[in-house]
């Protein structure tokens, strides 16, 4: 684990495990993961498909559905353990304190409801006293924050482009000024130009709100440009957690090094260094040891060679 909980930490996840029950055996999608999120910080969660990063994000939101369940661990937010909250308690925490910006903006909006209804639903779910005028004003304000025209409000999701939909999702995510924003691969389905716009928007609103962000993704280049600290996941476990510059300058774990080296650079055109596909080249998923602090704030899972 990356240190004990400190009072100023926004979020402290301790020993979190998410297990999926399948007919043959239990799959440990997230296997005893611990980390801390500091105020105003941008934490990246990197790893390949299936590493458990999205599951971790969903677990924090308590959105894991059967046959999966949170097997162990605590999720401390402002002194409360989200893992132990009641259904209604968690419902109130969602969006108001921890917001999710989902992957696949293609389908995250309800096709039969207008954009303004999405905002109305979100606000009314947490604030019974909100009246129509206030909701309308707030909707316009939020759309402006993500640089969308006001008249987007009366449109249906299918009338928006991918980038616009993603920005609507961001606007919905910040509508109640949460302390933590979890962005789960928000730009996967978008082209590079739109990606940049969306990430800029995300950064701007984060700063305006003073919120902390957990950015989940597998695009190391994207993560490098956005996050302050990076946690690298493999087979449900953390293998390295450190400030982003430190990772790029001085990655300690072979997996992290493999990820970085696989990024093509301008200087070495035509040379691609992929990672080996053989399972034997990597640590045994069931036997990854706990992280150890090799350097100040630089945690690595001990590895052979």
């Amino acid at each position: 684990m990356t240190g004990t909980a400190v009072a100023t930490d926004v979020l402290h996840v301790e020993d979190l495990s998410v297990h999926y029950q399948t007919p043959r055996r239990v799959v440990k999608a997230v296997n005893r993961v611990s980390f801390t999120l500091r105020p105003g910080e941008r934490l990246g969660l990197a790893g390949e498909s299936g590493s458990g990063k999205s599951t971790t994000a969903l677990a924090i939101m308590r959105l894991i559905r059967p046959p999966g369940k949170i097997a162990t661990g605590s999720i401390l937010l402002g002194g409360r353990d989200l893992a132990k909250l009641s259904e209604e308690g968690m419902r109130q925490v969602r969006l108001a304190e921890v917001a999710l910006i989902p992957q696949g903006a293609m389908n995250s909006l309800n096709p039969v409801r207008r954009i303004r209804d999405h905002f109305a639903d979100s606000i009314a779910a947490h604030d019974r006293t909100a009246n129509d005028t206030r909701i309308r004003e707030r909707t316009k304000e939020l759309l402006r924050m993500v640089e969308l025209r006001e008249d987007v409000a009366k449109l249906y999701p299918h009338e928006l482009s991918g980038g616009m939909k993603q920005r609507v999702c961001i606007a919905l995510g910040i509508s109640l000024q949460p302390k933590v924003i979890i962005a789960d691969e928000p730009t996967s389905a978008l082209d590079v130009v739109v990606q940049r716009q969306v990430m800029q928007t995300l950064g701007t609103v984060q700063q305006q709100l003073g919120a902390s962000v957990i950015l989940v993704g597998h695009d190391m280049g994207l993560l490098a440009q956005f996050v302050d600290r990076l946690a690298v996941m493999y087979a449900g476990r953390f293998v390295e957690v450190a400030p982003i510059r430190e990772i790029f300058r001085n990655a300690q774990h072979p997996y992290t090094r493999g990820l970085i080296e696989s990024l093509p650079t301008l200087g070495e055109k035509g040379i691609f260094r992929g990672m080996s596909g053989r399972a034997s080249a990597f640590p045994d998923p069931d036997a990854i040891p706990d992280l150890e602090e090799l350097a100040p704030d630089h945690w690595v899972a001990p590895h052979p060679a």
Binding site: Q21, P23, R24, P66, P67
Partner: protein
């Protein structure tokens, strides 16, 4: 089963006799997890057995009119009673139930066959062929089947045999299978493994047999059950109106005669209750099978165990 998943020894181990046993055990454990399917199959097999084992218990000749004393309530001699025209209803059931089921199965198979061929063609070839087939199927679906069948059947009134009946009914049983198969083929066609097969040079028939059909099996089975169900429904509908084979004691004709001779008002409850009860069992059994197959095809409805 003992061996680790992914271990190299698994490929080399002898699998001859153990394969079938393993399949049987897998089937058994699947049935336990899918009770609907098991229950449905159980009912249908039970009904089939009536026709197969029944002749051992009763003389099938007594299903013809004027064989026994008429209007007898159920007794030890006539377990299901007799009807107004002197038929032993137990014999009628033993003879007639298989007939009714046969019409259903024949029409179901023919309907499924036509439907599968058309559905495949439409889904795989696309374009104008697809449009024509799809429009035809959709249009015929909105037409009230029984009403059209009435037109057919009343024109050839009196001369229908079981086989003709099955064919008439089958003529309107192919549309749902066509729709289902077509939409499945459309979604499967673009899947990765199909395109991979194309690239690696598999011929079209090979692709159809080795890649598409195995994935279509639950839908084919589901469509078959649906076709059988609607075929039986249509056939007993025609029979109950008096448009069925006049000389065969099928379940539908039995109902027709019961209504014609006012069995309801005369209190001859065993006459009309017997075919109804058996038909209800048949439909319920088919419904459970189709619910079970639904679950097989759409695992999201699957409830996890423990």
């Amino acid at each position: 089963m003992g061996t680790l998943v992914g271990s190299p020894q698994q490929e080399i181990a002898p699998r001859e006799a153990s394969v079938n046993r393993e399949r049987l055990m897998n089937f058994g454990s699947y049935i336990r997890r899918n009770p609907a399917l098991g229950f449905g199959l159980f009912i249908i097999i039970l009904l089939l057995l009536i026709g197969i084992i029944g002749p051992l218990f009763v003389d099938t000749e007594r299903s013809a009119p004027a064989s026994v004393l008429p209007d007898q309530p159920p007794s030890r001699e006539f377990p299901l009673g007799t009807d107004d025209q002197g038929r032993d209803l137990f014999a009628v059931v033993v003879v007639g139930l298989p007939l009714t089921m046969r019409v259903g199965f024949i029409a179901g198979i023919v309907g499924l066959g036509i439907g599968t061929i058309l559905g495949f063609t439409a889904g795989y070839l696309g374009g104008m062929t697809d449009t024509i087939i799809r429009t035809l199927a959709d249009v015929l679906l909105t037409v009230p089947g029984l009403v059209v069948l009435i037109t057919f059947a009343s024109t050839v009134k009196g001369t229908i045999g079981i086989g003709t009946m099955a064919l008439i009914v089958a003529s309107l049983a192919w549309m749902w299978p066509t729709r289902t198969i077509r939409s499945q083929v459309l979604s499967l066609r673009e899947r990765g493994y199909v395109q991979l097969a194309k690239i690696s040079g598999m011929s079209t028939p090979e692709i159809i047999f080795y890649e598409l059909v195995p994935n279509l099996l639950p839908y084919l089975a589901g469509s078959f059950v649906g076709a059988v169900g609607s075929a039986v429904l249509a056939s007993i509908g025609l029979e109950a109106l008096g448009l069925g084979p006049q000389n065969e004691p099928t379940m539908g004709m039995t109902i027709y005669w019961a209504i014609s001779f006012n069995a309801l008002i005369r209190g001859l409850w065993w006459w009309w209750l017997t075919p109804i009860a058996l038909l209800v069992l048949l439909f319920v059994g088919l419904m459970f099978i189709s619910l079970g197959l639904d679950e097989l095809a759409n695992p999201r409805t699957r409830r996890t165990n423990s």
